[in-house]
Amino acid sequence: MNWLETVRAGAEAVRAHRMRSILTMLGIVIGIASVILTVGFGQGAQKEVKDEIDALGSNLLIVSPGSTTDSSGVRGGFGSATTLTLDDASAIGEDSVVPDAEKVAATTSTNAAVAAGETNWTTSVVGTTPSWLDVRTRTLEAGRFFTAEELAKGADVVVLGPDTASELFTGPTAANPVGQTVSIGGRQLTVIGVLDSSGASSTGTSEDDQAVVPISTAKSLTGSTDNAVSTIYVEATSADTLSAAYQEVQSLLLTRHGVAASDADFSISTQDSLVETANSTNETLTVLLTGVAAISLLVGGVGVMNIMLVSVTERIREIGLRKALGATPSVIGRQFLVEASMLGLAGGIAGVLIGVVGSWVLPSIIDQPVTLSAFATGAALATSLALGVGFGVYPASRAARLTPIDALRSE
């Protein structure tokens, strides 16, 4: 009896007990579907984070106030600390001091209500310099960015993110908000440009919802007199000079602030390090959830073994008859092994289908992206087959070892 015939006979036996086969597979179906979805969620979240960080620009160093490198925890209030200043930013901009920095943009950020006529929208108001557009590799959908002169005199101009623009301008002005007036904190600002979308995969990222103004304008809007900034973005000349730029910026700031490296009151991250940090928390969760799913797979495998043992007992007369008619022990063993594997594999396929459907449907329900990975899907199918084989071995060898006469005689 060749393999093809054995598989055909196995399929027949699985079909003959349809309801029971489905119930047996259920454990594996649930296990495989949850493995696929958990891995999908994990990868979806990672991709989302990576896209967001990639959207920041390229070859970027992100300098923030406060240290997170020290074991004593964050030094200085993150964001509210005044350890980074506009002067730091312009020092980094000096070619002689930091030769590997291409461009520098300092930013401040506050949340404020922006009004256009009757419409109100609360968004993050970012104060920065004209270099911001290049450093953050952003482009404009309409209008222009502000100039150095506008920065110098603190002009009343604003560039809106695409989401902000569409929230604020809904009526006849929606088509072209450029030239319209918005008010922030009672001050009238002219919209001179609208940004293109940052291209980050998920919708509603803050990158597309912000109001960018000259940093001088931002300072006077908040009534602030200091020159503290919340982030300094430094673009290295290329990917190869990124670490050199890192060293240069670090030693410059340490000198300027007069502190030792161990007491640094600022921290510098690269995009890679940001991705890594974000993923490490993510990964722990994914591993944990995958572990739970794997346990349910194991339970599913035991279910297959249980049913196959019942099946051997139930079909003991059939086994005896087949042996009397010339089935060898290995043929009988193979038949049960194939049956168990088919239950496993069928469960795996059903699980993958549910996982795929789930990955289409779930994101719209729980607002989390799910990235299906071909590797995880293939591994899940292989696992389900292995489970069927693994847990089928014992029942199969029991069937193979039955002596024909004992099997025939049993009632």
Partner: protein, 236 residues
């Protein structure tokens, strides 16, 4: 009569053990059965007839003694070799038919051919031919549940003859049948005998035993008489 013994039994004993209780079902059986012979084994219930047939059919091993099947010592064979012997040389007909209820008549008849490695395409043709031979050409697609007892036993006979085995072992094949069906099945066995096959028929009915050429009478695990019947002289 034909000469070569296909079956040679020497001092066959079979002891059943269940826990500490031992029961000797066969107590030294010595006999030869020649190729092409038609032998009926008769004896009262519990005398050891089925035990003997299970040993003849390589379904069970004797506790002691030697069984040579076509000159080969069966006790030396592995389970896989025994399976092949059962498949190629022996056709079984059981009292309880032993058909698989989920399979149609021809699929039941096909079973030994599957294990013989006959290609799928040939199997159906051969199974249908075997069913036609037992007069069930119009019942090939019926399941056992849709057939009468006599028809089921004829399906079982078709299954026994489909591989063209040299030997047919029938353990009370008519035990569950009425006189009409009994006549059908015995007629089929006569035909098989006529085509040169060795037949060992187990029964406790003397009229049935009379159809054979030779009667082996068993009582308490021993052969008490071994006599030719009226048909012994009939040359086939």
């Amino acid at each position: 009569m034909t000469s070569e013994p296909i079956i040679e039994l020497t001092a066959i004993r079979k002891t059943y053990r269940s826990g500490t209780i031992e029961f000797e079902a066969l107590r030294g059986i010595d006999t030869d059965i020649a190729e092409g012979e038609y032998v009926a084994v008769i004896g009262p219930s519990g005398s050891g007839k089925s035990t003997l047939m299970n040993i003849l059919g390589c379904l069970d091993n004797p506790t002691e003694g030697h069984y040579l099947l076509a000159g080969e010592d069966v006790s030396q064979m592995t389970e896989t070799q025994l399976a092949e012997v059962r498949n190629k040389r022996i056709g079984f007909v059981f009292q309880q038919f032993n058909l698989l209820a989920s399979l149609s008549a021809w699929r039941n008849v096909e079973l030994p051919l599957i294990y013989a490695g006959v290609p799928r395409a040939d199997r159906r043709a051969r199974a249908v031919r075997a069913l036609e031979r037992v007069g069930l050409g119009d019942r090939v697609d019926n399941r056992p549940g849709e057939l009468s007892g006599g028809q089921q036993q004829r399906v079982a006979v078709a299954r026994a003859l489909v591989t063209e085995p040299a030997m047919i072992l029938a353990d009370e094949p008519t035990g569950n049948l009425d006189s009409r069906s009994t006549a059908d099945v015995l007629g089929l066995l006569d035909e098989l005998h006529a085509s040169g096959r060795t037949i060992v028929l187990i029964t406790h009915e003397h009229e049935v035993a009379e159809r054979a050429q030779r009667n082996l009478v068993i009582a308490d695990g021993e052969i008490t008489s071994d006599v030719p019947t009226a048909r012994a002289g009939v040359i086939v």
